[in-house]
Chain length 308, copies 2
């Protein structure tokens, strides 16, 4: 799956992942009105609105980017109806040829971690049959529980040729509370990064590992260090755009081959029509605004990389 | 909700939470056979088997314990059908008067963490209506992302009078990889414990906080230290029984008032009939074996506490 991601980046020239993190407040009124008129102001109605909104965006950007990253929390808040739309979105994006990174940040131990891995990346056995649950291509995973939490995921990744992005240094302001604490003079996130590199050796693709890391765009200097520590790991970089990360901040996350990083933007793309810059599109044409935001982001990253 | 938990512990004399972590391999054949004959060897069939199995155990133990802890991974592996059974199990346990701790180990930042909190503990707004998603009473949360990940949960807990158990020192062998690393001479888990105590001050019940911690029974000496660091926090203690923790290991997790800890057992109770000790019950009477295992665990803890 890492090969598919790399080919997608090379084909599109866009090391970009579109974060499908819908909030009802992002969805244009004509979509919610129609959904509520069919299903009422219910969980089903919310689900239908989210689905139509996602579909519009995916249709508008799927030729421009290699990957999408649906954030499961935004679906899970609507209970079962929301999770149905998560599953439907994953399946639709895969039909469209996109790599799907399930932003699930799961993490537990032993057979429990394996159950998450099975549910999101693998297949579960029922009697003599096997079924895929949510069937994403990659999943994000939390490392706080150590190797007991990660190895069961790696086992399933090996079987399914799928991958992980493990949280190393997250993009939020308080990520330093624990992640930056010094251990033998080095921050915790560096030790986690070293482990990611080690775990990654167990599951190598041609040039990069199937096991990547999450490092926030908001911490470019730390990204530089982590790039060195995990040379074979792809870095999934959140925090571009709405959270404050800029193109120039991103160059450190890439290797000299121009690969090794994929930058996420969620609100900045999916709710682009709400920004002054793209307001002329109007809410009816929200998906065209998203497309333009992807083109602009591609340009921003390309010029930053060209200028390094 | 912390008051309901405390009253339940006092009423039953059992600081015990039953971990509803079903694996298909635990379920007696007469249950799976019936479920598969109705629904086939499908995800629905697996869901029906899990539901009947859970219901049997809950009916058999609900007067003996204050709380249950369904582990969502074990349901999530079956996709939507599994999660329907998770929701059904939560609702059924609440009907039976049990406190439900959703072992979801979620954790993200800002609006994403809030979405998880809303989905598991609160209610989501759709138009002018509000709906509960999974509606557990407590949720387990991962602290790796710092306060940005925890505060949105606390906000929802305040609104709903619900609570959290935050991972501090987990029960697994590799939990020390990151959690035990020394920072200024003290292990990371102590710093996390201090934060739990601080977060807990924001949401106090009469004597204990709504914000508790997870500390594994397999690390009793660390439990002793953490008990001091977080005097007002309930400690959810996994790792008893199947993972190796014993009654005598548990005394340090309790305060002098005999409260402050609630001990989880999953496999040791729900699959008790598979142990030699309870084999005489037979698989048809698996729920009676679970009941006996709860009684034995209650006795083990009581005598350890009496002997301290």
């Amino acid at each position: 799956m890492i090969e598919k991601l790399i080919k997608g980046i090379q084909r599109t020239g866009a090391p970009i992942v579109v974060g499908l993190d819908p909030m009802l407040s992002y969805i244009p009124e004509h979509i919610t009105r129609k959904a509520f008129s069919e299903y009422g102001e219910t969980l089903e109605g919310a689900g239908e609105a989210i689905w139509q909104y996602n579909k519009g965006i995916v249709d508008a950007v799927c030729d421009l980017v290699p990957a999408v990253k649906p954030q499961i929390a935004m679906y899970e808040q609507f209970g079962i109806e929301g999770l149905k739309v998560f599953a439907r979105t994953v399946a639709y994006c895969k039909e469209k040829g996109l790599v799907v990174i399930g932003d699930v940040k799961r993490g537990d131990i032993g057979s429990t971690s394996e159950a998450y891995a099975v549910g999101h990346l693998g297949k579960v056995q029922v009697g003599s049959d096997f079924y895929y649950g949510f069937d994403e291509d990659f999943a994000t995973v939390n490392p706080y529980l150590g190797s007991d939490g990660i190895k069961p995921f790696i086992k399933v990744c090996k079987e399914e040729k799928k991958g992980l992005f493990i949280l190393v240094k997250t993009s939020n302001p308080s990520s330093g509370e624990f992640q930056d604490r010094l251990i033998d003079g080095r921050p915790l996130y560096e030790l986690v990064g070293e482990q990611v590199a080690k775990w990654g050796e167990e599951l190598m693709g041609d040039t990069y590992s199937y096991i990547g890391a999450v490092v926030g765009a908001t911490y470019p200097e730390m990204g530089k260090v982590l790039r060195e520590i995990m040379p074979k790991s792809f870095i999934l970089v959140p925090g571009y755009g709405a959270q404050g990360g800029k193109g120039v901040d991103l160059v450190h996350f890439f290797n000299k081959d121009g690969l090794g990083a994929i930058v996420n933007s969620s609100r900045g793309i999916i709710a682009a029509y709400k920004q002054e810059k793209y307001a002329a599109f109007g809410s009816e044409n929200y998906a065209d605004a998203s497309r333009q935001a992807v083109l602009d982001m591609r340009e921003d990253i390309a010029s930053a990389l060209a200028g390094r």
